[in-house]
Point group: C2
Chain length 173, copies 2
C-alpha cells in the first residue's frame, strides 16, 4: 500500500488549514481513574510526573500531570497557569466514590466491548535502565522487554490497568 505521506501532510504553507490551525497544540489526553490516590502515587512517585493543577467539578475532580522540562513552567504558579500552553499533559478524571466499587471500574480500551483507545507511551533515554527501575518499584507488566517478539518495547500497567508503552527515545522504526 502507498500512503502518500507528503501529499497528505498539511505542510503546504499557504493551505487554509495551515493558516487557521496556526498555534494549535496537542495539549492533553484524558482518562478516568478509579482511585485518585493510587493514580497520583503511580504517576508522580513512580513515573516522575509533576502534578500541575487540580480542578474541582462538584462530583468529580480533575488532575493535570506532566513531566517537567528544563526552563518550562518551573514554579508552581507557572505550572498551573501554563497547563494549556504546552504538550504532554495527562488529565485524570476522578468521579468521587468510584474507589469504593468492587473490581475494575473502567475499560482500558484493549478488549471488547470497549476496544478503541490503546495506550499512552512514555519515551525514555535508556529503556533497559527504565525497565530495571520499574521492576524495582514493583510495577505490573503487560509485556516485559524480554516477552514476545518485539524486544525493544515494553508495556507497564497503571493502577486502572491502562497500558503504558515504554519506548527508547532514539528508537528507529
Amino acid at each position: 500500500m502507498a500512503y502518500h505521506v507528503h501529499a497528505l501532510s498539511s505542510s503546504s504553507p499557504n493551505s487554509t488549514s495551515t493558516m487557521a490551525t496556526q498555534g494549535f497544540q496537542f495539549n492533553h489526553t484524558m482518562y478516568r481513574v478509579k482511585d485518585y490516590k493510587k493514580s497520583l502515587d503511580f504517576y508522580t512517585r513512580i513515573m516522575g510526573m509533576s502534578l500541575l493543577d487540580t480542578h474541582e467539578g462538584g462530583d468529580f475532580t480533575l488532575f493535570f500531570l506532566a513531566f517537567d522540562k528544563p526552563g518550562v513552567n518551573e514554579t508552581a504558579e507557572e505550572k498551573k497557569a501554563g497547563k494549556f500552553s504546552r504538550e504532554g499533559i495527562l488529565e485524570l478524571t476522578y468521579n468521587h466514590g468510584t474507589e469504593k466499587e468492587e473490581g475494575d471500574v473502567y475499560s482500558n480500551g484493549n478488549s471488547d466491548p470497549g476496544r478503541g483507545f490503546g495506550h499512552i507511551a512514555i519515551t525514555v533515554p535508556d529503556i533497559k535502565a527504565a525497565c530495571e527501575y520499574f521492576e524495582s518499584q514493583g510495577v505490573n507488566w503487560k509485556k516485559r522487554l524480554t516477552d514476545g517478539k518485539m524486544k525493544n518495547i515494553a508495556f507497564i500497567l497503571d493502577p486502572d490497568n491502562y497500558w503504558i508503552e515504554i519506548v527508547e527515545s532514539k528508537l528507529r522504526l
Copy 2:
C-alpha cells in the same frame, strides 16, 4: 478535600524517581481507527497536523501525527527520526479491513460498556476563531461553545467519534 499538590509532586530534586525518570517524555497517545483515509484527511487537512511517519505491521498500519513546531523536526527525515523524541504525538492504529465493516467499529470510551478513555484536547490561540473554522469545515460536534454550561470549551468528533476537546491556550481554571 485537600489534595496536597506539592507533597504529591515529584519536584524534590534528590528523590529516587527524579533521578531514574530524568528525560522521560509523555510522547504519544494511541487509538484505533476504522478507516485510515478518513482519519488522515481529518487530522491533517482539517486539524492541521503533519503525518510524521507510517509503520507497516503486517495486518495493521501505524500512523504518527503531530503539530509542527517552529524549529523542531522541520524536514521529512527529521520528523520521521524524531518522532519518539518529542511530546504531542498522536498514533493511529489501522487494522486492515475494518473500513469494510458496518457502523462503528470502536468505542470512544465515553459510554458503558467500555468507559475509561475520555478525550484528547487541542489547545488553540483563539477558541472562537477555531470553532468558526471547524464549522466552515463541516466537522461534527459533541458540544458547540454555545451548548451546555461551560461556554469556554467545545468538543468536536473525529471520524470514529472520538471526542476532541477544544480549549483556549490561555484559559485559567
